[in-house]
């Protein structure tokens, strides 16, 4: 009887199964690799977008407060058409260049092209930067340097206003955490209303430019501070220190080109600027509805009596109508370029 030879069917089946399994495994591996690569790309894109946003915020926050951006566009040499046009100081791994915005000249604004780098990857964004609608740097108290600890030996009450449009208690160059710590460190001497926003880091007030502008318009002197009644809002300029020894009221813009020393009581509606700082003596009081902008004094802020500082958009707007006041730079829009 003739024996049939084995045909190797099992081997064929095993090989076919192996081949099919290998194909499935390869497909799965390819899928996983594709997803891993997509995930890495998305992480990188998110990091780049975050770096761009941080760069724009840092660059805009570091821009000096002022009235326009002409100096930014022409660069440090002040001459248009040169290599330094629009060059801005930017953090590491980031560059920023300002250029004039299209359209009409008003309101003053610039387009800042920002490039952020993460490793070898880079991304660009255009940011539209303009001046803030409200004068100042976003704080009721605008200082040229962080305040010193223990500046308030008496009492100070700061009210940022209604919840619809509150202001920060304090704006000054420096680390916002340090400003927070100063607020906390003043303890019971400083009463900040709940509606008031936390301190913000910002540029120093441009007091030299503001002085020039004040001196370029008709201004009053100390007679603008009257003993009683409803004072007219005016621009007042005082060369040197100003001592207020009795009861005075005033309104508008008071520019003290020196130290403001309150030994009596002063009630003011508008903006008070004191390039040499503020001292409120024990038993004295300053009540200000508007803004208080101080230069570098020794110290810039010394409150032994009582300071009441309240938000008053109307009073600040009235002062701004008398003489346009400086404003901080804010980002008004962005556009991802690629």
């Amino acid at each position: 009887m003739r024996r049939r030879r084995p045909r190797g069917g099992a081997l064929v089946a095993a090989l076919a199964t192996l081949a099919f399994s290998a194909a499935l495994g390869a497909a799965l591996a390819d899928l996983a690799r594709t997803e891993l690569r997509l995930g890495a790309e998305r992480r990188l894109a998110s990091r780049l977008l975050g770096a761009l946003d941080a760069c724009v915020a840092d660059v805009a926050g570091a821009l000096p407060a002022g009235w326009d951006f002409a100096a930014l566009v022409t660069g440090p040499d002040g001459t248009p058409g040169t290599a330094d046009d629009g060059a801005l100081t930017a953090p590491a791994d980031c560059t920023a260049i300002a250029r004039a915005a299209p359209g009409g000249p008003a309101p003053d604004r610039v387009v800042v092209r920002v490039e952020a780098r993460v490793g070898a990857a880079r991304r660009h964004l255009d940011a539209l930067v303009r001046r803030a609608p409200e004068p100042g740097a976003g704080g009721l108290l605008w200082l040229s340097a962080p305040p010193e600890a223990g500046a308030i030996g008496g009492t100070a009450a700061i009210d940022g206003g209604d919840s619809d449009a509150p202001l920060a208690s304090l704006a000054a160059p420096g680390d916002p955490d340090a400003l927070d710590a100063w607020i906390a460190g003043e303890g019971a001497h400083l009463d900040v209303s709940p509606a008031t926003l936390a301190p913000v880091a910002g540029p120093a007030p441009p007091l030299d430019d503001l002085r020039s502008r004040v001196q370029a318009v008709p201004y009053a002197g100390t007679e603008a501070l009257v003993a009683s009644g409803a004072p007219a809002a005016v621009v007042a300029y005082v060369a040197g220190d100003l001592d207020v020894a009795d009861a005075r009221v005033g309104a508008g813009l008071l520019f003290v080109d020196g130290r403001l020393d309150v030994g009596g009581t002063l009630a003011f509606q508008g903006v008070i600027v004191a390039t040499g700082g503020l001292h409120v003596a024990s038993g004295a009081g300053l009540t200000l509805d508007g803004g208080l902008w101080l230069g570098v004094g020794s110290p810039a802020l010394a409150i032994e009596g009582a300071l009441v500082l309240r938000r008053s958009p109307g009073a600040v707007a009235a002062a701004d109508a008398l003489l346009p006041l400086p404003r901080r730079a804010v980002v008004a829009g962005t556009r991802d370029v690629g």
Binding site: A13, L24, L28, T34, P102, A332, G333, R335
Partner: protein, 181 residues
Amino acid sequence: MTLAELLVGTVLGLAVLAVLTSAVAVAGRMLIAAGARAEGEDTAQLAMEAFRFDVRRAGWDPAAAGHAALVDARADGLALAADLDGDGRIATDSEESVAWRCVTASRRLSRIVGLQSMPLADHAVGCAFRYLDRDGAAVAAPVAAADLPRVRAVELSLRLLPPGLSHPASRFLLAALRAAP
């Protein structure tokens, strides 16, 4: 070889073959499911990325013509504007005018660029927009025209359930409007 040996061998062979076939079938189904899952997740993610870039640039107005970022705001859609070429106008037939729509009837999320509708995601079992004000409080949709400037952030939540998946691919994105009101 006896008949018994042949039967035992056949049974063993069939059993092994059945196990192998089942394993391969399971692996095949896993591959299909993984592919569908990956496609669903990628589609949802791509929709979110497109939405993020649209919101980031909304209100771009370098010519200071006064264009609003958010033109229309509803629970099932919104419309954004940006003067991308800086000519002071919003060309409604271009990428300067972008709308997003959740079409519940067809379970589709569409991005309408100018006058052209571009389906972004099908099999959308959940798709909704939400609007927040400066304090993070919700602004009721549809948002009245007078309240549009109050909206400072927009949220899109999306759930896609392509065929073959038991659980949806879910994403939500909250993006702040960059343009100052």
